[in-house]
């Protein structure tokens, strides 16, 4: 079951609609990383609002997505973790440490915008920008 990935400006939004198998999760990871490179995305949002359980593989995949995206120059934020899911995750010790999280899509976009502004000073003049394609 393929997860739809939308492009919004410099951001990619992956909206998970239903429970995913391990294979689906791996496919999502590959798809996102590929697109980050293709579109030179600066941010990735993974929306897990529809998930009412998250096992260790799902959590690990989200961490992998965040790390890989970072390596390709994009920030990642996971949004929409449900209260019950959050509770279960911390009880099982499944942390998303080092990965940004936000309440929902709106907050996620606000977060990415904020990150982007922070990087304004870091941005080099267009000519010398390394090609990350």
């Amino acid at each position: 079951m393929e997860v739809p990935i939308l492009k919004q400006g410099h951001y990619l939004i992956a909206s998970i609609q239903s429970a995913l198998t391990d294979a689906d999760l791996s496919q999502l990871r590959e798809a996102l990383i590929e697109r980050v490179g293709r579109f030179r995305a600066r941010g990735v949002i993974v929306d897990v609002t529809a998930l009412d359980v998250m096992d260790s593989f799902a959590v690990r995949t989200l961490r992998d997505i965040a790390h890989m995206a970072r390596l390709r120059g994009a920030d990642t934020v996971i949004v929409g973790i449900q209260p019950e899911v959050a509770f279960a995750m911390v009880q099982l010790g499944l942390t998303l440490k080092g990965v940004a999280t936000a309440l929902d899509l709106e907050e996620g976009l606000a977060f990415l915008n904020q990150q982007g502004e922070g990087r304004l000073e870091d941005r080099r003049p267009p000519g010398s920008r390394l090609d990350r394609g």
Binding site: V90, T101, L103
Partner: protein, 302 residues
Amino acid sequence: MATKTKDVQPLPPDPLAHTESTAALLRELVAHLRQNRTQLREEWARRITRAQLLTAMTEEEIFAEATSVYDNYVEALETGTFEALQAYARNLSERIIPRGVETHEVVGIVLLLRDVLARSLFAKYHEDFDKLNRILDAYEPAANRIANTVAVGFVQERERIIRQQQEAIRELSTPVLQVRERLLILPIIGVIDPQRARQLTEQLLRAIRTNRAKVVVIDITGVAAMDSNVANHLVQTVEASRLLGATVIVTGLSPEIAQTLVTIGVDLSEMATVGDLQGGIEEAERLLGYKVLPLEDLAPKA
């Protein structure tokens, strides 16, 4: 084939062997107790007053309850069943516990009644020692069972009330309050047991989602002590809140609790702490981009 004569061992005395006569004896003693109801009940009430029990109740109340207890007692002796007595005991307890009657008082008065009735049996059968013994054989187990039933009923009722009160206290003392847009405060007061900690976390997470909170200040000024279990619950609450996109600031840690957290090696890098609630709210406002200024500073200059 010659059959060996089996060696018949004498059977041990069967405690139920005298059931027939036990029933007859009980009927006899119940009749006696009913006949002398008035004076036995008065004697009992006298003893209760002398022993200074049920001081929380008036004489009229003691008399009314004494009558019910007496009748229920005798009925239990008569029927040999104790369900009705148990129900009565719990009902009685429900009424007298709010009056401040203590367990030792309830046990005390039941034992006094037992004594009063036993004495009257001695008085009646003192000339026939053998009969007296048989009557007591019938009376004592039943009387002991009655004392037990009433005491246990009383204690069970007390425990039920305590549980009820605990539940009420629990509900009262964990409000999640919104003090600004996106800012929640959770003041925790009293003892946190694992069950309450779990309830707190669930309540907080739901509130974060409902109020779209970005910052939560958890104030534990009112928490006296915290063991490692509860400290871990607190850390988990902070982590779970972060997963919902909220930053948690913990305020009001006492020196003892600070010591506990350090000793058990809680990972404090994930937990922002500020000394007191005021400081915590100010920090929260700062994180949310608020700045609080006195009105004079905002007034347009003339």
